[in-house]
Amino acid sequence: MRQGSTSDEAYWKANLSLIRNILIIWALVSFGFGIILRPLLSGIAIGGTDLGFWFAQQGSIIIFIILIFYYAFRMNAIDRKFGAEE
């Protein structure tokens, strides 16, 4: 049974826009700062190397963790707002 189709649509839209933002940051810290944009960040020194190296070996992993918990936390709020929770 489908219930409240319009609110389900709005719920899905809210989810998609959250996912879009999460994935932009996900790509920026890994492919961006960690690889492609590393030359741009080479001026910022950190512990004997540059910020890009830090993002590639540590920063991206830490930010991935934050992103998942942020997603889980925001989705709980979105679930409640649209009455989509279990």
């Binding site: 489908r2 219930q3 189709s5 389900d8 719920y11 899905w12 989810n15 959250l18 996912i19 999460i22 994935l23 996900w26 890994s30 492919f31 960690g34 690889i35 492609i36 590393r38 950190i46 512990g47 004997g48 190397t49 540059d50 190296f53 830090w54 590639a56 070996q57 540590q58 991206s60 992993i61 830490i62 991935f64 963790i65 992103l67 998942i68 918990f69 997603y71 889980a72 989705m75 709980n76 679930d79 009455g83 989509a84 929770e85 279990e86």
Partner: protein, 591 residues
């Protein structure tokens, strides 16, 4: 107590613990066998997922991969963690809502196609079987080195342990054993790392030690390391020396491959609620990150230690290199295993360890009387020999042995469950005999598990020649076929049976053919079209990185074929609507 006795005690104790869990967590229903009754706490599931995911390769080889290459192999660090972000927002919650037991089952139902389900089963079995071979050989090697038994005997003991908890307990037994295995492996990994970090940088936490000043010179560790190795003709540790496009595509392949590996996905079927699947992905990454943040520090520090051990004085001066007569004991112990090899090319009785492939450095080296690099070091040794290199007590060495076994066994069990549930649930219940009773299916699941263990043990004893290439194949298949099919099934309602099946086939064939062209057809030696080196790769894309392109091929084919053929029926569109919303997911079964 001797180190050897300690190793027997520690490994024996962990095995007794796993057997104890097997007896306690027996599975009574198919729901318990396939999905642990969906009653696993999200934090516990996170821990089990971490053990499931971190294989013998993560435990033993990762630090070495980073150590000998440096920055350019950061791809492994980002790739093998970034996939969890994709799992958390693109796959895990919706597949949990779908509420069935296997990955091919979702693909078959969503694309209302038995052939799509069979393609998924084939991908799953090929990816998981190739992967499991590495775990079984890892068990054998660890036994042979640390417990001084024949590699094959070690393999039988390991297989018997997995048999006990996987056949009796299914997912339920595996889950709680994996939690215990995680604790063992992470303790074993971090303790030696902390000692080494304290020794080299005076910093307790290895990830901070990586960016700290060296106690040796007072300059940052990475600066000193770069100087040390470039003086010997090696490429700098922190520099970027490879093709950027290939690095991006390889990282992406590892990420979507991770998200598409069935043995990881099914772990998220075990939590009580959709919201728990999201939290659980976060916890899994926390537990994985403890190892993945430690590994690059271990890598840099171990490389530093190794080079300093050999190059004791000024580079080029005759006394600058360690005399073989003075090597530490760990050096000779590991020489016996063949993981360290020394050949005195210039017959001066001293060890020269440098980059003899560097033509700019060659004249200089010859002027010093060096006649080629004399030392070969297997990358795996950096973790296995770490406690000995750092002169740590015997119980730490024992712990590393138990940790290596825990990493291999936990991953093997997860893979075996993915394989056996695909056989009993997708092939037997789903295709051959749909009317099989609950008890009959449970028995079929146990028999499939036992058979899968027997096959894995056989392949572990007689690894096919291509075993070393299997990671490329497993990740390529998962990235190019399973991940796109699952994602389209959830996010694109318009993708139909024909589109999904042809998309999977196209992605799969494209990827497999690209790998075979460089690695040999079916990995048979001598059948490759081109040498597997950068100058022959199309746009510099290595066969390891091709999964990303295969995934794009899959998406494009599925999209256009679906546009050209009939829209999916209404009940399928309703199914997609329903998996998108958590409301109404099946209730948990408590245990």
């Amino acid at each position: 107590m001797t180190t050897q006795t300690l190793i027997y005690l520690v490994v024996g104790a962990t095995f007794a613990l796993y057997i104890g869990i097997a007896i306690w967590a027996r599975a009574g229903t198919t729901g318990e066998f396939y999905a642990a009754g969906r009653g696993v706490h999200p934090v516990m599931n996170g821990m089990a997922t971490a053990a499931d995911w971190m294989s013998a390769a993560s435990f033993i080889s990762m630090a070495g991969l980073i150590a000998f290459v440096g920055y350019d192999n950061s791809t492994y660090l980002m790739g093998w963690t970034g996939g969890y972000v994709l799992l958390a927002c693109l796959l895990a919650p919706y597949l949990r809502k779908f509420g069935k037991y296997t990955v091919p089952e979702f693909i078959g139902d969503r694309f209302y196609s038995q052939s799509a389900r069979i393609i998924a089963v084939i991908c799953l079995i090929v990816a998981s079987v190739t992967y499991v071979i590495g775990q079984m050989t890892g068990v054998g090697v660890t036994f042979a080195r640390f417990l001084q038994v024949e590699s094959s005997t070690g393999l039988y003991i390991g297989a018997a342990i997995v048999f006990a908890y996987a056949v009796l307990g299914g997912m339920k037994g595996i889950t709680y054993t994996q939690v215990a295995q995680y604790v063992v492996l992470i303790t074993a990994y971090t303790i030696p790392a902390i000692f080494i970090s304290l020794h080299l940088t005076d910093t307790v936490l290895p990830p901070l030690g990586l960016f700290a000043d060296s106690t040796h010179s007072g300059t940052p560790l990475l600066v000193e390391l770069d100087g040390l190795i470039t003086d010997l003709g090696f490429a700098s540790y922190t520099g970027h020396h490879t093709n950027t496009l290939n690095m991006v595509l390889f990282t992406m392949s590892l990420m979507i491959g991770t998200a598409g590996l069935p043995h990881v996905i099914i772990r998220f079927f075990t939590v009580p609620k959709v919201a728990d699947a999201r939290w659980s992905a976060g916890w899994a990454l926390v537990f994985i990150a403890i190892l993945y943040l430690t590994a690059p520090a271990v890598g840099a520090m171990a490389r530093f230690n190794l080079v300093n051990t050999i190059q004791t004085g000024e580079v080029g001066s005759p006394e600058g290199n360690l005399a073989y007569a003075d090597v530490p004991t760990w050096f000779t112990t590991w020489e016996q295993t063949g993981l360290i090899k020394w050949e005195d090319k210039n017959e001066d009785g001293r060890i020269q360890f440098y980059n003899d492939k560097n033509t700019a450095f060659e004249t200089q080296a010859e002027a010093w009387g060096w006649r080629g690099n004399e030392l070969t070091v297997n990358a795996d040794i950096l973790v296995l020999a770490n406690p000995e290199i750092a002169a740590l007590p015997g119980w730490v060495i024992a712990l590393v042995a138990a940790g290596g076994l825990a990493a291999a066994l936990s991953t093997a069990a997860g893979l075996l469950l993915a394989i056996s549930s695909a056989i009993s649930h997708d092939l037997i219940k789903g295709t051959i005999n749909p009317n099989i009773s609950e008890g009959g299916e449970l028995m079929a699941a146990r028999v499939s598990m036992a058979a899968a263990i027997a096959v894995a043990t056989y392949l572990g004893l007689n690894p096919p020649g291509f075993a070393a290439q299997t990671v490329a194949l497993a990740f390529g298949l998962a990235a190019a076929s399973i991940f796109p099919a699952l994602m389209m099934g959830i996010f694109f309602k318009r993708i139909n049976n024909v589109g999904a099946s042809l998309g999977m086939l196209a992605g799969l064939l494209f990827t497999v053919i690209y790998i075979f062209v460089y690695k040999g057809w079916f990995f048979l030696p001598g059948t490759s079209q081109f040498p597997d080196t950068a100058e022959y790769w199309v746009f510099g894309i290595s066969p390891l990185s091709i999964g990303t392109v295969g995934a794009i091929v899959n998406f494009v084919v599925a999209y256009f074929v679906s546009q050209a053929t009939q829209e999916p029926p209404q009940e399928i569109q309703d199914l997609v609507e329903s998996i998108r919303v958590p409301r109404g997911a099946g209730a948990a079964i408590d245990h």
